[in-house]
């Protein structure tokens, strides 16, 4: 009999994700995969997994889970969510042990949109086309090709507690990046008028509620095309910014269609892709063009940051009752304490 993580409430959209499917886009298979790869690496590092181990991506409102037959260690990274064990609030961004039968409830996101929940040892799941990532539209990955549902049971690969200290993400590494989203112009910037391109860079765009893992839909000043709105369909990447006939940008994300027929004015640089995962409906974004060599250097820096992810983690002593939760609450977020009383 397998030891399972049991889903009591699924949350808004909770899916199993790893780094996604590579090499099958030519057959119409969306890459999918985790939206925020830094969060995946961080959550896995906290619980001692390989950085690319599949974990649960949670969105805006999280699930309630339990494991009735074993004790497990878990950690959340990415967006800041309210977390509680059997109703007692605990801190996000650090490891906790969940005793057999205890309930882990993940509430709503207080900042950002998506977090990754990693469990020590990971899940037991057979890859399809090289990945266990869930892609709902093509019914691939996860348990049965879609988000988790109440009553689902995810088999754990190595239940039990690891023999390693409890860790937390140092506060300096929890902050969400600010400022404009950086892009490289192209591939079809020539499909827009000079005025259209100027509008794109000079305006604030608001993230709409229709955004999901396929695309981040924006609303704001209309970006004017130079001529025809359609192109002969070609391939898309994570970060392609397409502008359909209504002039409102859509940033294509992990679950995007493999090909598209709208011109793409610009492409978000690799280093800013994890930020896209955290944009909230109603939030404003602005775009800034950078040089290609800058984008490549930033991609290098991000790779290095993930490789050295352990450097962003701090050991915590959790001996008796109030520990780092308490300290953090007292010292850093004093104004919020009353919410926990």
């Amino acid at each position: 009999m397998s030891v399972d993580l049991e889903i009591i409430e699924p949350g808004l959209s909770t899916t199993l994700q790893d780094l996604g499917r590579r090499g099958f886009q030519r057959f119409g298979i969306s890459a999918s995969g985790v939206m925020d790869p830094i969060a995946l690496a961080t959550a896995n590092a906290l619980v001692g997994n390989k950085l690319e181990t599949a974990a649960l991506e949670i969105t805006l409102a999280g699930p309630t889970l339990t494991c009735t037959s074993a004790e497990i260690r878990f950690a959340l990274a990415g967006a800041d969510f309210a977390v509680a064990i059997d109703g007692r609030p605990v801190s996000s961004h650090e490891t906790h042990d969940l005793k057999a039968g205890q309930r882990l409830s993940i509430g709503t996101a207080r900042d950002g949109t998506r977090a990754v929940l990693a469990v020590s040892g990971g899940f037991q799941s057979a890859p399809i086309l090289g990945s266990v990532s869930t892609h709902s539209r093509s019914q691939l990955g996860g348990l049965d090709g879609g988000p988790l549902r109440a009553g689902d049971r995810l088999p754990l690969a190595a239940p039990g507690l690891p023999a390693r200290p409890h860790l937390m993400v140092s506060p300096a590494h929890r902050r969400r990046a600010q400022g404009a989203v950086r892009v490289l112009l192209g591939p079809q910037d020539d499909a827009f008028s000079a005025e259209g391109i100027a509008t794109f860079f000079a305006s604030d765009y608001t993230v709409t509620a229709l955004s999901d893992r396929m695309g981040c839909r924006l609303e704001g000043p209309r970006v004017q095309h130079a001529g025809a709105v359609g192109i002969v369909s070609d391939g898309t990447v994570f970060g392609s910014i397409q502008i359909p006939g209504n002039g409102q940008p859509i940033i294509l994300l992990a679950d995007r269609q493999t090909t598209g027929g709208y011109p793409k004015i610009a492409t978000v640089i690799s280093a800013d892709l994890p930020r896209l995962a955290q944009l909230r409906p109603g939030e404003r974004v602005r775009f800034q063009a950078v040089e290609e060599d800058v984008a490549v250097q930033l991609a290098r820096d991000m790779r290095e940051r993930i490789r050295r992810i352990d450097a962003s983690l701090v050991e915590i002593q959790r001996t008796a009752a109030p520990t780092s939760d308490h300290l953090l609450a007292c010292n850093l977020i004093g104004g919020v304490i009353s919410a926990f009383d």
């Binding site: 590579r22 090499g23 099958f24 886009q25 030519r26 057959f27 119409g28 298979i29 399809i128 086309l129 539209r137 093509s138 019914q139 691939l140 892009v183 490289l184 112009l185 192209g186 591939p187 079809q188 002969v232 369909s233 070609d234 391939g235 898309t236 990447v237 970060g239 392609s240 269609q257 493999t258 090909t259 793409k264 492409t267 978000v268 640089i269 690799s270 290609e292 984008a295 490549v296 991609a299 290098r300 790779r303």
Partner: protein, 251 residues
């Protein structure tokens, strides 16, 4: 390709797609020669097996080359492509031709009657024209295993629906504008006209040795079948049988 084709570019146009991808445009429009060049360049570049190229996505007239910017620069890839240019098809290459059974009309093809009225013809005439043509697979995209086909009889060119349907049946065989298509066994939104359904599963992840049947450059023909035969073939396809007939043509 003995005659000059204005749609083909003398040299490829490179378009930046971020810091980790490059779009290589080899010609203009939807054209068999342009698409053949895409297929040839795809093969030639894949054979070079450059470390750092993550994947290549061939489409109608472009290749999307996805790469790791830490291992490889865009300039390196552009230089590599120029060195391979113009790509040529290997001598004695094998082309695949598929024959795909289709149950036309009725519940399987909800737009067949409408199309006959719209074109002021009979459903038999539409079926005859649609199944007489030889199609070229231009690309696989939009959804897993969805094949975009060129070669549709001009008499069957009809604009797409003004409002796409939110759901169309799995394995639909459809036409839209100048193009035809075969859908995988997944329901999907579509603005195309549904002529029929095929029992062929162009994509099936359970068929681990061959999850995808069609690829860019393949030839394809349709073969009308009766609804009863459709049901029997569909059951066979469910068990993993590849019921589309495949010929290998040496060119």
């Amino acid at each position: 390709m003995s005659m000059a084709n204005d749609a083909l570019y003398a040299v490829p146009r490179f378009r930046r797609s971020g810091d980790a991808a490059l779009t290589v445009e080899v010609g203009d429009g939807i054209d068999a020669d342009v698409n053949a060049r895409v297929v040839d360049l795809d093969r030639a570049l894949a054979e070079r097996a450059l470390p750092g190229i993550v994947e290549i996505v061939p489409t109608y007239r472009t290749l999307l080359v996805c790469f790791d910017p830490v291992m490889l620069s865009r300039r390196d890839i552009e230089a590599e492509i120029m060195a391979l240019w113009p790509p040529v098809a290997p001598i004695g290459q094998v082309r695949r031709r598929w024959t795909v059974p289709v149950a036309y009309g009725g519940d399987n093809g909800m737009d067949l009657d409408w199309l006959a009225r719209r074109l002021d013809t009979t459903t038999d005439e539409i079926v005859a024209r649609h199944s007489a043509a030889e199609y070229r697979v231009y690309m696989i995209g939009f959804m897993p295993g969805f094949a975009y086909l060129g070669g549709l009889d001009p008499a069957l060119h009809v604009d797409r629906r003004p409002e796409p349907r939110l759901v169309t049946p799995p394995c639909s065989v459809s036409v839209g504008g100048q193009q035809a298509a075969v859908a995988p066994p997944l329901a999907s939104p579509s603005g195309w006209h549904m002529l029929g359904r095929t029992p062929v599963r162009s994509y099936d992840p359970r068929r681990t040795h061959e999850p995808f049947l069609f690829r860019a450059g393949d030839l394809l023909r349709f073969h009308p079948i009766a609804a009863a035969e459709f049901a029997a073939l569909e059951r066979a396809a469910e068990t993993g049988a590849i019921i589309a007939e495949r010929e290998e043509l040496t060119v």
